[in-house]
Symmetry: C2
Subunit: 240 residues, 2 copies
Amino acid sequence: MTNPTAAMLVIGDEILSGRTRDANMYYLAGALTKIGIDLKEVRVVSDDKAAIIAAVTALSAAHDTVITSGGIGPTHDDITADCIAAAFDRPIDIRSDARALLAAYYDRQGIELNAARLRMARIPDGATLIDNPVSVAPGFTLENVHVMAGVPAVFQAMVASVLPGLTGGAPLLSQTLRIDRGEGDIAGPLAALAEEYSDLSIGSYPFQKDGLYGANIVVRGTNEAHVSAALARLRGVFSQ
Amino acid sequence: MTNPTAAMLVIGDEILSGRTRDANMYYLAGALTKIGIDLKEVRVVSDDKAAIIAAVTALSAAHDTVITSGGIGPTHDDITADCIAAAFDRPIDIRSDARALLAAYYDRQGIELNAARLRMARIPDGATLIDNPVSVAPGFTLENVHVMAGVPAVFQAMVASVLPGLTGGAPLLSQTLRIDRGEGDIAGPLAALAEEYSDLSIGSYPFQKDGLYGANIVVRGTNEAHVSAALARLRGVFSQ
């Protein structure tokens, strides 16, 4: 009984140039873990058609769900929708349902629905729209790929629209034990415990603080009793 | 005249589970941009042998330089060195130069160089060591892949050891103009400018603040005069 898997594709030169620190990967990772979907891979690519198409094609074939972030606004560097259409060999044009959403929104504000804004109504044939309660311009779902905006507030709203519709597995639970000894001291007994509790993932995350070495040992699994038992054993082994 | 390209591979369940927010990608992106190496792709994979080998093989073939982060400590979940050896079909064992570094370091502190710590001296045949002034255990370079620690302080020290030896290109310069109008208003003229200055990358990064919409227009390129000229034209177009 394994959990469904997911991959994320972050699209944007601003991440790869170091201008912007990504926030969406961290947010999505936490949200998927809570509902029992295993995020297995993230890729970050630039605003480049061939790179986007290759990445989405590979990730869509390898995982149950793919979530993309970025590149669906009205400017010339927003090319995600066209790339997704190309990846799945679907026609793409301004769609009436998306146009109606934008028209109503801009009409209320007395803003012109010009050619640039209409680009945000370009939706591949056969896709379903993803609700955007923040700024209306929709994302969309095509096959197993959910296409979302890069602006964190909008991304998070779209994640909230999509996640309840996904089939999750057993939520991944984790418990952490901080050990104030160097990893080299604890690695031997830790490896033995990891082998004993092979249904759990036991990770060691070293830190240095005020010149002292330590590690946070994180026990992850879907069975709460097992996770707690492993943590109790860890405490026993390392309290000596 | 294009710049050399780089890819990054982040290895670690702690990123994909949402426990830890990655810091190394943001740091490396900025450091590479400064020396004129274009970071083209980042992948994040879990502590899984097949996933690490597949990713490093693909990235090494596609880019001039690959930098990995994570998985080179002494615990059972540190499998990066063995995966890199497997990816390049090289033998791997405890190497005397790496062992000598560790032995001297632990000896000074009166700490035992036990089997777990010796794992950090496992280096593939033919690799050169990367200096670690923070905690001694070395990274290594094999072919075009530089294998570094995940702990940010150590990662940054290793980046500082390696980057001066890489052949950079023309550093990417960027200038930013903030425009307090919605992207939909500026997208048309912006696309025309992007076409006119086709040697530059012109990106639009929307924001919302206090209910107002705006965008930061970032002009990137290696020719400072062109970047400045494009920014001046942008100012002219959008000050009307």
